[in-house]
Symmetry: C2
Subunit: 339 residues, 2 copies
Amino acid sequence: MPQAAARPTLEAVAARAGVSRATVSRVVNGEAGVREALAAKVRRAVKELGYVPNRAARSLVTRRHDAVAVVIAEPETRVFGDPFFALQLRGISKELTARDVQLVLLLMEGRDDHERVGRYLAGGHVDGALVFSLHLDDPLPGIIHGAGVPTVFGGRPGWADGAGSVRYVDCDNRGGAHQAVRHLVGLGRRRVAHITGPLDQTSAVDRLDGYRDLMPGADPALTADGDFTLAGGEQAMRRLLDRRPDVDAVFAANDVSASGALRVLRAAGRRVPQDVAVVGFDDMLPVAEQAEPPLTTVRQEIEEMGRLMAAMLLHGGQGHDPAAARVVLPTALVRRESA
Amino acid sequence: MPQAAARPTLEAVAARAGVSRATVSRVVNGEAGVREALAAKVRRAVKELGYVPNRAARSLVTRRHDAVAVVIAEPETRVFGDPFFALQLRGISKELTARDVQLVLLLMEGRDDHERVGRYLAGGHVDGALVFSLHLDDPLPGIIHGAGVPTVFGGRPGWADGAGSVRYVDCDNRGGAHQAVRHLVGLGRRRVAHITGPLDQTSAVDRLDGYRDLMPGADPALTADGDFTLAGGEQAMRRLLDRRPDVDAVFAANDVSASGALRVLRAAGRRVPQDVAVVGFDDMLPVAEQAEPPLTTVRQEIEEMGRLMAAMLLHGGQGHDPAAARVVLPTALVRRESA
DNA sequence: GTGAAAGCGCTAACAG
DNA sequence: CTGTTAGCGCTTTCAC
């Protein structure tokens, strides 16, 4: 691979400005306590020479990297199914950019990748890691913990139920489910079904719990397993229609599976919302707005969650066992036409 | 931000193995010419200490970073609309991972970001850049060129028509369009319409050109502008039906806009493919397979394109003006039910 | 073959 | 306030 061209060093700037390297360093790093006259000279020299600090040299001495890893488990259905991660990445990117921190993307596909990612994180190449909603049996958290890398999770990890020092950002999945079901019930619906997400993820479990909170005596046949995908939503809806043809409302665990449900309902000749009201979750615009009919859904601030994750990582505790911190963002019902 | 914990150095490994730092370095970097006995000792010490080389220190002397930037223009409609970039990222990630090179993700949103990204690339923090399909007036190529960073583009840049040293990976957009239109004509369709992509991108222009190649005398009213989005596809289809109610086939510039067309056709009571045959482009699985009916489309190997981009960057020429190289991958028609 | 020594470019005490 | 001085951990001649 090509080498970088020779570039001006601190030394060169110092020579040009007629000051010492230390002074240049101070100016470049915005430290106070340099006489304005000198600082101006330095800034001019920097500009004239097109000086850019060498990150490697800086890291070597500061032992920081101004880089964080974003770890995404690729098998994650959502990565290719809806823009969820793209949005979260945008939030993360904004925050990191604002602080001049690099985003190192680590995509995982299989078990071998866990080891590789673990090694990378343990290698001390980044200052921290942002890790997305793992499934319950994922070995990564253990590896990360062992590596001692400051980490913030996206979505509550399954093992974080008790106390502990886990940091994560999540939305109020359970409360959001309440909003959805309450809305449907408020519409006069009595046979409210639920299409779940993959139940090895806490977000799906929490939404299911929220549904059950408000429908305590509901027929179990009104709950059908989905997996956050369109196909999963379709299958679940078919099962639902099969088992309870009298269903008059559906709360789907995300917008994509709600879209699947809409399709099956349409094919079955049920009118939405007249015959069956449907509520989704996420407010994934390209999905919810383009659904037929447009989806009433529970909005979560995905981009904001990403931004918060990054902010928490950069701002938060130092060392191996940072103070625990959880942020749970509120959700909001967005009414469109499906319910 | 937290600092990395103290970690074993080359020096420590050398001491443990009873050799010099130079020898350890040679073993770690796989250089030949170290007696096997010593090498074994070193490897053991490395393992026992859990030694991982310090990239910053290495970069400082080698002037390489083992990192490449992936630049994605965020306003790019596709980023959130379909999994196009996610797929390409996966291909890139696979290749980079295999070579132990980091993926630094740079998301751009506005004009200010151009400057920031340009500065970053010019800063010599990465060994190269992978840049995605820019629009015609994008200032980034100029900035990149000025920065002298080895770069491979995803999708032919608009200004690369002539000769030059531009490197890019693309699919045969024009040939793919031929496949699509030829198929429709082969089905006996005579009033074949085209829904374009955004015409400030070469992929969209090339597909339009391909359409025109095979429909030289086509009524201009059979061509409607789209923008690769679902909404754009819907609007275009409505215009088409309005202007030419007798249309009997549609070639849409991508699967997402084809889905939009399908929706409008369905709403208009046209049967697909009996009344109107529809062909898309991309073979974006979650879109094409889930369309109603499933889309016949022109497949391009998106993930492979990503992999190739990375391979080309890592393998290719060195220095500011690497040998020009373009790779254009073939496309293939995938028949489903829409045509 | 292997080791000794010289930096890569920068920051961080410590003097002055 | 500013300059001097030591390294950070690694690769890379150059001797041995």
